[in-house]
């Protein structure tokens, strides 16, 4: 996935001189996760540059650059460190078009590694997507495969609205099925994650059907797409799995179509439960598919605690908890 992200950045920089990259350690070093490797050398230090360690400053400067007419792609090293930039994202980037009646826009794409499963502890594991989906004027994108990461990132950069692009770092190097004691298989062993060369984009607001099924709908995104897929396969459950890919805009049609078909719905995310994005999904499914539902909508999520270090695998919504929720839905 790292190479796919790097490729998307490379392609957009070569196509559009207004695309610039900034962030902590993204320049000469190429990023702590190597996502921007080689780009400074190729495009020069005025297009790919290191910034002071100041997330509010990074996003604030990017908003100003966007107002000038550039298309900045700032990086926040970990989603856990995006909070100092929240005022800039919520009060400024998200509102600029609205409050200026379109005189100024903020066409930035804020990339940030996110999610747990890597023994990152409290401040290298968080999934703060619900803070952003709650803000009108922001788009939130979370890919789950290299193919999608490239196509969605290209679409996000081209989009004239501010986009939060969360990269699940657990699956940077290979998919993760939830069995943390098994060795990671690199992406190159998975033919379905093959990334086409050159430019292509995946429209924001379209979910991906991971697998067609009749027994229940599973809504997931990021790392959890791979975990729920593995659990359904192992348990032999004929699940209809949707990888949402973008939370805002949300593919409501795909969700409705699936739940109306299956009558059952499981929502899985790493983020803590209360007021998490799963609550919004559950409400939407209940409001819009109520007469098709044959069981209560279930959520398997992180617990309402800070992300723990040594108890990581008790916190992470793994195969056991997901499997139990599937059984509960089918028994209802």
């Amino acid at each position: 996935m790292i190479e796919a992200i790097n490729d998307a950045l490379d392609i957009m920089m070569s196509r559009d001189p207004s695309v610039i990259i900034m962030g902590e350690d993204v320049g000469f070093f190429g990023g702590v996760f190597r996502c921007t490797a080689g780009l400074q050398e190729k495009y020069g230090k005025t297009r790919v540059f290191d910034t002071p360690i100041n997330e509010c400053g990074i996003i604030g400067a990017a908003v100003g650059m966007g107002a000038y007419g550039l298309r900045p792609v700032p990086e926040i090293q970990f989603a856990d460190y995006i909070y100092p930039g929240l005022d800039q994202l919520i009060s400024e980037a998200a509102r600029l078009r609205y409050r200026s009646a379109g005189e100024f826009i903020a066409p930035l794409t804020v990339r940030s590694p996110f999610g747990g499963g890597i023994f990152g502890g409290q401040t290298h594991s968080q999934s703060p997507e619900a803070l952003f989906t709650h803000v009108s004027g922001l788009k939130t994108v979370i890919p789950s495969t290299p193919h999608d990461a490239k196509g969605l990132l290209i679409a996000a950069i081209e989009d004239d609205d501010p986009v939060i692009f969360f990269e699940p770092k657990r699956i940077y190097n290979g998919p993760f099925d939830g069995y943390y004691d098994k060795p990671v298989q690199p992406w190159k062993k998975f033919p379905q994650s093959k990334v086409p060369e050159g430019y292509y984009s995946i429209p924001l607001g379209k979910a991906r059907k991971v697998r067609d099924g009749e027994a229940m709908t599973i809504l997931a995104y990021g790392t959890m797409v791979h975990v729920v897929e593995a659990v359904a396969r192992e348990k032999g459950i004929d699940a209809d799995i949707l990888d949402l890919r973008t939370l805002v805009p949300l593919d409501i049609e795909a969700i409705e179509e699936s739940v109306e078909k299956t009558g059952r719905c499981l929502i899985v995310h790493e983020a803590t439960r209360t007021s998490g994005f799963g609550a919004e999904l559950s409400a939407l499914v209940t409001e819009r598919c109520f007469y098709h539902l044959e069981a209560p909508v279930e959520r398997v999520t992180g617990f309402d605690t800070p992300y723990p270090h040594s108890l990581e695998w008790a916190f992470f919504p793994g195969p056991i908890r997901i499997g139990e929720a599937m059984d509960k839905i089918l028994e209802a």
Partner: protein
Amino acid sequence: MSNRAKLSLYVPEPNARPGEQPSFDHLEIPAAGAVRCPDIGAPEHELRDLPYTLIRVLDEQDAAVGPWNPKLSTDRMIKGLRAMMLTRAFDDRLFRAHRQGKTSFYMKSTGEEAIGAAQSLALDQGDMSFPTYRVLSWLMARDYPLTDLVNQIFNNAKDPLQGRQLPILYSARDYGFYSLSGNVGSRFGHAVGWAMASAYSEDDKIALAYIGEGTTAEGDFHEALTFASVYHAPVVLCVTNNQWAISSFAGIAGAEETTFAAKAIGYGIPGLRVDGNDFLAVWAATQWAAERARSNRGATLIELFTYRAEGHSTSDDPTKYRPADEASTWPLGDPVERLKRHLIATGVWDEEKHASLASELDIAVRAAVKEAEKIGTLGKSKPPIEQMFEDVFEEHDWRLVEQLREVRD
């Protein structure tokens, strides 16, 4: 308990509270013309006296003196005077409109008119300012249509911002005036980013940003100065020190310990401290900083030393926290009066011309208010309901489509 001396917490207090005698005796105000004007190419370390003094051009005899005298043409000075007078006439009229219930809110810039007016005229058309809510004179100096301002304040059907913003939080891109926001300070860093973008694009435009002295306490101030310094951004960063942040005196923002201009030193950029009620001094310092920026010498921090002569806003009563007559004892006087007296002293202006201009401007403001009133005051006329959903995104997503349908039905 140990036998060490007990600590005590220090909380700054202003010199005078309501009912007390106002006093500005503690201010050190150098004579006009006394401060040196270095070459714009001078390195920062040779400029470190400037943040601790006060650049002034107009002296007690209303003459323009010293090395900072920008030697402006009469036309430019009259243009500046007009912009300041128009700002004051507009402020007075719209403040009254608030009292008459025609709008929900207003903020005057009385006493600070020289700042926006001089800087607006000193910068080029393509440059971008990142204003606070108290630099209306920037727009007045660039002849922004008065009726559009009033329509915004009345939030009526012709409000250029479609009724989305509180009164006076204007946006005027074509006038080099960036979109305002109610949360203070958050656009200070945008100016730096804008300036960096201009430099990246090998453009010749510069940015100018405003922040109040109270808001220098926000992280945005530090962030903007850090980025401006690191990348040599072509930006003029201005602190409008009007002594008051609502009810808090400047000491609560750190004014007792140092000057706001002196904060530049720690970031390695030049800091200038300027008499903010002296139109010519503001002009000269701005031009100096702008030329530095344009010649790739980077950012300058300017503290504009002034006094907020009126309440913070229509929701504020300053007699509750400061002496009612404090404004009249402000030692730097009134910016409009000082420029007027200078023009009269140079023989190009007189009381008659001044009175006639004042009356002409008052008529223009009245006409604009009347025209806006014809469309409607607050609540009497509104933008169409669709406008609540426009511009959230470039295009509506399904939620906005459904929600618009909901309010229409």
